[in-house]
């Protein structure tokens, strides 16, 4: 029973790891997808995703700088005019570049921040799976004749006689 458990546990671990990864991805993927209700919340959400260009590490939502206030005003006007969050962000990116975004974009070199962990995770799982498969299916090594086969005295004598006879029969 214990031996069986020991043999099954690596496979079980892989399954558990896969399940936990999938659950984590689902949780991370679905978090924060609830749409804010009002315009003010949308403005706040968009402003929170933009760097204040004249500040150090402050979002447009948090900065008291006059330029950030003007950006909030512009966001509010665009939200009111019916522009989507992506369109508004694109407008600021066109002027300031992607560095104006608080979170790196999902494409280009910065996109590696999103894709690399997933790639590493998949590769890790693949390597783990291959190693586990190799360990689980490792063939038992054949016993070496000289090491583990023990002969009785009479058997040994019989072998010696047979070898001697073979040598006599050899030509030359």
């Amino acid at each position: 029973m214990t031996g069986r458990l020991r043999a099954a546990s690596p496979g079980l671990l892989v399954i558990l790891a896969l399940v936990s990864c999938v659950v984590t991805l689902i949780i991370v993927g679905t978090r924060g997808r609830t749409a804010p209700v009002g315009e003010a919340e949308r403005v706040q959400q968009i402003a929170a995703g933009l760097h204040c260009p004249v500040c150090k590490d402050l979002s447009v939502a948090d900065s008291p700088a006059p330029l950030a206030q003007q950006m909030r005003q512009e966001i509010a006007e665009k939200v009111h005019a019916g522009e989507s969050a992506d369109q508004i962000r694109a407008g600021f990116v066109a002027a300031y570049g992607e560095s104006v975004l608080m979170t790196p974009p999902k494409h280009g070199l910065a996109g590696a921040a999103y894709h690399l962990p997933l790639i590493v995770m998949v590769l890790g799982l693949l390597v783990s799976f291959l190693l586990l498969r190799r360990w689980l299916h490792k063939p038992q090594s054949e016993p070496l004749a000289g090491d583990s086969v023990s002969l009785s005295a009479s058997q040994r004598r019989a072998v010696d006689v047979a070898i001697a006879r073979l040598r006599e029969e050899e030509p030359g």
């Binding site: 260009p53 004249v54 006059p66 330029l67 003007q70 950006m71 005003q73 512009e74 600021f92 990116v93 066109a94 002027a95 300031y96 570049g97 560095s99 104006v100």
Partner: protein, 182 residues
């Protein structure tokens, strides 16, 4: 000669590629000033604006198509803007009859302070008031002074962060003028 296995070659190549990737990333990243990111506007059409001049009439950028335009964002409270003032005044005097326009865009300032400064600093080129910072936002201004050089076709060819250098600016303008006359 010792034979190297394929697996070892693949492993070695992977390690070399990973090290190379980190080196390239560091080399490109460390050679750049993080406080002065490249403007995505360079090479693109200059955002248009219509703003009131300090002395009254409206000023529309698109009316200057066909001329080289130097757009300078400044404020009276900005010490570095004072440093570059003589360079801008000199550029205006030198090129105003050659199809070049210098435009001052007053940024986050009061009209009174801006007018006082323009008078005392001897500014004679057009100065407009960007009272709600819309032009500054359209140009991706991060701080002042910031200067954009626009060619005859209305395309931004350079952005200068900090005070402009008179000789360098003159060189850029001359090359734009000669390119346009060819």
């Amino acid at each position: 000669m010792r034979r190297i296995g394929l697996r070892r070659i693949v492993l070695l190549a992977t390690v070399v590629a990973a090290v190379l990737a980190v080196v390239i990333l560091l080399a490109t990243g460390l050679g750049r000033d993080p406080s002065a990111p490249a403007s995505p506007l360079v090479g693109r059409a200059a955002p248009g604006f219509t703003l009131a001049q300090l002395d009254g009439p409206q000023f529309t950028l698109s009316t200057l198509r066909g001329q080289v335009v130097v757009i300078n964002f400044w404020a009276s409270w900005c010490a570095e803007c004072h440093t570059e003032q003589s360079a801008l005044n000199g550029t205006w005097q030198q090129f105003r009859d050659s199809g070049v326009v210098v435009v001052g865009v007053n940024f986050q300032d009061t009209s009174t302070d801006a007018r006082d400064y323009v008078r005392t600093a001897g500014v004679s080129y057009p100065v407009v008031e960007d009272s709600d910072s819309r032009a500054a936002l359209a140009y991706g201004v991060r701080g002042i002074p910031e200067t954009f050089i626009v060619d005859r076709s209305g395309r931004i060819v350079d952005r200068v962060i900090g005070p402009v250098d008179a000789a360098k600016l003159a060189g850029q303008i001359n090359s734009l003028l000669s390119a346009g006359s060819r």
